[in-house]
Amino acid sequence: MRQRSLIAITAALAAGALTLTACGSRDDDGGSDSGNGGGGTTVVIGVDAPLTGDLSALGLGIKNSVDLAAKTANKEKHVEGITFKVEALDDQGQASVGQQNATKLVANKDVLGVVGPLNSSVGESMQKVFDTAKLVEVSPANTNPALSQGVDWQTKKVRPYKSYFRTATTDAIQGPFAAQYVYNDAKKKKVFVIDDKKTYGAGLAATFTEEFKKLGGKVVGTEHINPESKDFSAVATKVKNAGADVVYYGGEYPQAGPLSKQIKEAGAKIPLVGGDGIYSADFIKLSGAAGTGDLATSVGAPVEELPSAKEFVANYKNAGYKEAYEAYGGYSYDSAWAIIEAVKKVVEDNDGKLPDDARAKVVDAMQNVSFDGVTGKVSFDEFGDATNKQLTVYSVKDGAWGTVKSGTFTG
């Protein structure tokens, strides 16, 4: 009998162990399906970005990141009674298409906010349409200062549209930041400035040039390129003959990559420097080995410095998107989340329901949104610009962009 007792005790212990294991309170997720939301009302977050064409790498990163934000909000039931959906439209990088998309998004009464666009020129064409409909627009990538501070931003800042916000830092800081790095750190004193004549490219080149000259640098030549072309050999020869020790390009990677390659082929072994528009893996593909040593400034701190960004990167990977989140992924997620926060405020202030004038209320709520996002603290100043203004210089090394130097605007 004693032996039996011992066996029984042992069996009981083992059974207990198994039971406890089975009942243990591991940190299981236990959440609902990411697609399932809080039920009730559907709120659509519009996306406008180039989803096809040369700039689609950046545009698809924007779209996917907004989708991730909506799925996260639905999974967490972040706004009780609201399910977020995403409607993404392709502007092909064209201002006229962007304007048509704006009209289409305004016509959908479920759309309470729009993330986008990528290009400042497209943003310019959409602002009035959205503002008239009191539909909030948050761009993760527009950097032209005039969009939020008016065309005379250098002398007198006036906000043109109340419904326009952005999470990206403006070229009023990005251009001078690049000039300071090129002149003081890289010790380049003679620059050849090229732009693509577009709102973003020309604006960025202008703010760079102004600061570079103030610092004592010399502009040895300027040129504009046709963004439709891929043959820049004539400009490359001019760069070579001008004796520049650096090229600054205001524009985007589809042109910047071949331009860098052709400048080096023409015999000018000097770095090409650009803004966030060339900070893409596709720039390196297009420039080939000639791109080594080229530089780009981009908005925000490097991902590895932001724990919140690391979480975003992991979630993005787990979500299984085919395309990379690229330069504006974190800013797009934060833009979408700002809309979600504004909707939450509006719903909570109206006894858990959307009011009839929800769009106007969301615009008002957006002005006071504040949260810890992927890119740091997200809030907006009196012009609708991000209050968090960080920038980073990257350079191409061993076929990839690497961090060189970061800066924070604290003025």
């Binding site: 083992a14 309170s25 003081n184 610092l215 970061s406």
Partner: protein
């Protein structure tokens, strides 16, 4: 009653005697001798294994997040030109910046420089100096013009370059102190070198 009684032993139905027990092996004999001890030890081992498994598979508290990078934990903002004694020397521009540590462990400023040729910089307190979390300190910065020829004319968004260290990392970071600093610096440079001295 079923009518079926016990079967009486008949021919060839006698109960055979059980065969003598087969000689047992050494292990079996040892087990027989120490049966109690073996079972106790076995049970103890099982209990230990069960306990060990439970301990190993207990819900783990998630590890605390690593401290932030120093540049993400501090604010460095321009205050104003320094006033009072001692009077700044000719060709010098003295001003106050405010450093505050928002979160994480203490942050040490190991170096504070400015990027322009023709200017030198000193600070009070002199680097390195440490600032605790959730506290702030004033730093008095003095820029001196060493060569007007090389000094900038009127930089639009001048930097201070600061090397920061905390338990997470050492990193160099630029702080762009804004238009007020740019204006005051330009005024000071103009006073030191004249408008068209370059």
């Amino acid at each position: 009653m079923s009518g079926i009684g016990p079967v009486e032993p008949g021919e060839d139905t006698r109960v055979r005697e059980a065969p003598p027990p087969r000689p047992r092996g050494r292990l079996a004999r040892a087990f027989a001798r120490h049966r109690r001890a073996v079972l106790v030890c076995g049970a103890a081992l099982l209990a230990l294994a069960g306990g060990g498994y439970l301990y190993a598979s207990r819900p783990q508290p998630s590890p605390p997040p690593p401290p932030p990078y120093p540049s993400q934990a501090i604010d460095l903002v321009y205050g104003a030109p320094a006033t009072g004694s001692p009077e700044p020397a000719a060709g010098a521009f003295t001003f106050v910046v405010l450093l505050s540590v928002r979160s994480g462990p203490p942050v040490t400023v190991t170096r504070l420089t400015q990027p322009y040729d023709g200017l030198s910089v000193t600070t009070s307190p002199a680097a390195p100096f440490q600032t605790n979390s959730h506290s702030a300190r004033k730093i008095i910065v003095t820029l001196r013009v060493t060569e007007c020829e090389k000094a900038p004319r009127n930089p639009g968004l001048p930097f201070l370059d600061v090397t920061l260290r905390n338990a997470r990392a050492i990193e160099a970071h630029s702080f762009i102190l804004g238009t007020r600093y740019a204006r005051d610096l330009s005024k000071a440079l103009e006073a030191a070198c004249g408008r068209d001295s370059r």
